[in-house]
């Protein structure tokens, strides 16, 4: 059984103390704990499967290891894979190349750890520079570009697209651009007419 530790002092909690969501006290720091244990705590991390050797001539073999027997078919590219090459991802079986391709092309969201949020970026760029308003001469057009560029980009993996946020950022940046346009026209007019 894997060890369950106190979240405050990291002391291993005796297994006899771990029941069905009962309140206990850490034997070392006396913190009041409620621990809910699941069957995975009894699961040991076993050795990886290296695959079986192919025995006969007509036997289907792994695409990457011709000496090993094929166990599954890659759901991405259809290649035969041995147990060593099989990468289970979100219920599918993939080969290492499809995993790498999915990770770099961002088609496999399971591996995606970061995503640029164009709505948040546009909103920040639209309003934060107002604290130093001369900078809006540059940031307002940049916001307009960002909204147009990021309009069709994928939103959050949670499914939120936040189009209203982008519209607000666009309108704010547009207003700033119009104000700067008016200011520049006035300056030009005063310079040319003395």
């Amino acid at each position: 059984m894997n060890v369950v530790r106190c979240s405050k002092c990291q002391t291993p909690l005796p297994s006899e103390m771990l029941g069905a969501q009962v309140a206990i006290r850490c034997p070392r720091c006396r913190a009041a704990l409620e621990v809910l244990v699941f069957p995975a705590v009894h699961r040991e991390i076993g050795r990886g499967n290296v695959g079986e050797a192919a025995l006969g001539e007509g036997e289907t073999t792994c695409f990457f290891h011709p000496e090993k027997k094929a166990a599954v078919v890659c759901n991405g590219c259809g290649r035969f894979l041995c147990a060593l090459c099989d990468v289970p991802v979100a219920g599918d079986h993939l080969c290492p190349k499809c995993v790498e391709s999915g990770r770099t092309k961002k088609t496999l969201t399971t591996f995606e750890n970061y995503r640029t949020s164009y709505p948040s970026l546009a909103l920040t760029l639209a309003f934060l520079p107002l604290l130093l308003y001369p900078t809006t001469l540059v940031t307002a057009p940049a916001t307009l570009f960002l909204v147009i560029f990021g309009w069709k980009k994928p939103g959050s993996v949670t499914g939120r697209r936040r189009r209203p946020t982008m519209i607000v950022a666009f309108l704010a940046a547009l207003a700033q651009c119009l104000v700067w346009g008016w200011v520049l026209v006035r300056i030009y007019g005063s310079v040319t007419h003395g």
Binding site: N2, V4, R5, C6, S7, K8, Q10, L18, A31, A32, L33, E34, V35, L36, V37, F38, P39, A40, V41, I45, A90, G91, T110, E112, N113, Y114, R115, T116, S117, S120, L121, L123, T124, L128, S156, V157, T158, G159
Partner: protein
């Protein structure tokens, strides 16, 4: 089964940082922790099949908040009392300073009551084989119980399915 356009459902709570905030989302196969910055989002996944234990530890944050607010309220009350004492005449007519201290005292007492009504504070951790991660969105025991009520059946179902799959793999049914 979640809507394909909305694969996650938001769980209660929100953890705040200086320029970021954290939210928790319930998916079909895993729990998703999203850290949002002005420039983007970071994702952390806890697959239900990997969760070994969930630990809820009661903390003393609520007590300390009440102590700080109580000290501020007492200080404001003392200053208010000195303002009242300094006033000449039999009838008390509050001036701006006295009203200010009265408001400060009232605000402190209000937040003390609110803090007490929200219930005990806690820290919720998820333990897997390689890590024990704190969920920053869960800070009150009431919220922790709501999150646990949603997670527990999913974790048990995922681990029961995994166990059944392992058993059938070890004991294949012959045709």
């Amino acid at each position: 089964m979640a809507n394909p356009d909305r694969p996650y459902r938001k769980l209660q709570g929100r953890g705040s940082g200086v320029v970021s905030f954290v939210t928790l989302w319930e998916g079909d196969t895993h729990l998703l922790q999203v850290t949002s910055w002005p420039s983007g989002e970071g994702y952390r996944r806890f697959f239900y099949g990997d969760i070994q234990a969930i630990i809820i530890r009661r903390t003393s944050v609520r007590l300390w908040i009440n102590i700080v607010l109580g000290v501020l309220a007492l200080g404001a009350a003392a200053l208010l009392a000195s303002e009242v004492g300094n006033q000449k005449g039999p009838r008390f007519s509050p001036d701006g300073t006295a009203i200010f201290w009265l408001i400060v005292m009232g605000v402190c007492v209000f937040f003390m009551v609110l803090n007490s009504l929200f219930g005990p504070t806690c820290a919720m951790h998820i333990q897997t084989a390689i890590q024990c991660e704190k969920l920053p969105t869960v800070r009150r025991e009431r919220a922790a119980r709501k999150v646990l009520a949603k997670l527990q059946p999913r974790v048990i179902a995922a681990q029961s399915a995994a166990t059944a799959g392992a058993v059938s793999a070890e004991n294949p049914v012959s045709p």
